[in-house]
Symmetry: C2
Subunit: 244 residues, 2 copies
DNA sequence: CGGAATGTTGAGACTAGTCAACCATAGTGG
DNA sequence: CCACTATGGTTGACTAGTCTCAACATTCCG
């Protein structure tokens, strides 16, 4: 959902360059944001879409009575805000100090007609966002707290360190994780503790997770799902198995 | 999600005709399905997309251990199967005796280039599907069983009888509703009973719901959400208020 | 009528939520 | 340097809502 995908990843060469080529003032249009600042709000017109240059963003929807659902996290290289409508259905906010490149929507549309590669690239991105959001929804609807957090950690690990690094930095706070997983912060915290007690992870700092047994975590995460988070990132999966 | 939307609705005139014009053998390509039969399975190539002519279909994803999530129901006039990828991420199955018009994907793509109206129509459909799936996810992640069922009934009522008829026929069985809402069939059944006891509905038959107090049901459904299911169907909402 | 599939109800278990207290960390100002 | 505070995170006790398992009822069909 929300049409986010990675533009900088090495396995999809050229999307960054494509965007640079399509938007001459690419560099000039980079806007910085403070933690918590809103990029676009629900109902805002979809005049532009965005490419994350630095930091972390989240797509959220609020409700009258204070409940909140986080639909996606966007990190460096992800594109977001590409909703097929005149107004945004989700708010996009900076999680920490971060920066976005702002890309005019209509210019992109025109370029897509000219350059089939850009078209294909954006399309593939939409595909991956859809795949992820399907797994996200399946997870929220049908998994236990442990399965959800295991899935989250596995996904974040693959996204932030595709080579399979064992230390994950969580830029978002517990409330964001909870709202992403459909849990409360207390349950998230308790589940972290359970994972520590079972030797799956350590928490050298609150926001730093060292994954001791990635295989076990992934088994938990996939227990209710035949596909792993980001199933298309085969190399990382192989690395993990080797490390097990 | 899953890119479903209504093509026959009166408020969007011409989409049906557009499709007829674009696909000369429209009538010939209508395929019947028995209850439970699969239209496409997870991983199948996305060679075509589909227009529901009769009956009800569901988009589902299964897991190894038997858990299941229903992502959408498609009724007469809905288009589905338009995933932006080479393979389907969800299975589409017939819920009852039903029929689909099969529309070749590449032909549609070509036509979209020619006819901007078709392009716009399909785009608008994607928008509405996204809106619905966002509410669906918010609901699954953050609502109680009562809120979920109230939301479901309100949505089904608006979709199946846009004029606001008070009797809703549920073609799907309880298990489908449960898997759509992220609940168990027992909880769905109990919640139906609660609604009966509180005078919100009656159940003349298992699959037939008479909605006695649509306003109250809608209030429950929207308690955690500022948007109602299908907020764009304004006339129906007005009718409901009048009926209250 | 009999049997299978579907739906309802009940009792009890269990997961996650709620509320409250406590802890850790980082920043501030005396 | 040390309180002091604010924010974020953890833990505990208790509660509530949903699930599980089992029995029973209903509907649908042959």
């Amino acid at each position: 959902m929300a049409y986010a995908f990675t533009a900088f990843a090495g396995d999809r060469p050229g999307i960054g360059e494509l965007l640079s080529a399509c938007f001459p003032h690419f560099e000039a249009a980079v806007v910085p944001f403070l933690a918590g600042q809103e990029v676009v709000g629900e109902g805002d017109p979809t005049e532009s879409f965005f490419l994350v240059m630095r930091g972390l963003f989240r797509a959220v929807k609020f409700t009258r009575d204070g409940r909140r659902q986080v639909f996606a996290f966007y990190m460096r290289g992800d594109i977001c805000g590409l909703e097929p409508d005149a107004t945004h259905k989700l708010s996009i906010e900076a999680v920490d100090r971060a920066a976005m490149a702002v890309l005019p929507r209509h210019a992109c549309r025109l370029r897509m007609d000219d350059d089939p590669r850009l078209n294909a690239a954006l399309f593939e991105g939409a595909t991956r966002a859809l795949t992820l959001s399907i797994d996200h929804m399946l997870m929220i609807g049908r998994s236990s707290a442990e399965e959800r957090l295991a899935w989250f950690l596995t996904m974040i690990r693959l996204r932030s360190a595709p080579s399979g690094g064992d230390v994950v930095e969580l830029a978002m706070q517990r409330q964001d994780i909870a709202d992403y997983l459909g849990l409360t912060i207390e349950t998230v915290s308790r589940t972290f503790t359970h994972f520590k007690e079972r030797g799956l992870i350590t928490l050298p700092r609150k926001r730093r997770v060292e994954i001791l047994r990635p295989d076990e975590l992934r088994r938990l995460a996939a227990a209710d799902r035949d596909a792993l988070p980001f199933p298309h990132v085969e190399p990382a999966r192989d690395l993990d198995v080797a490390a097990a």
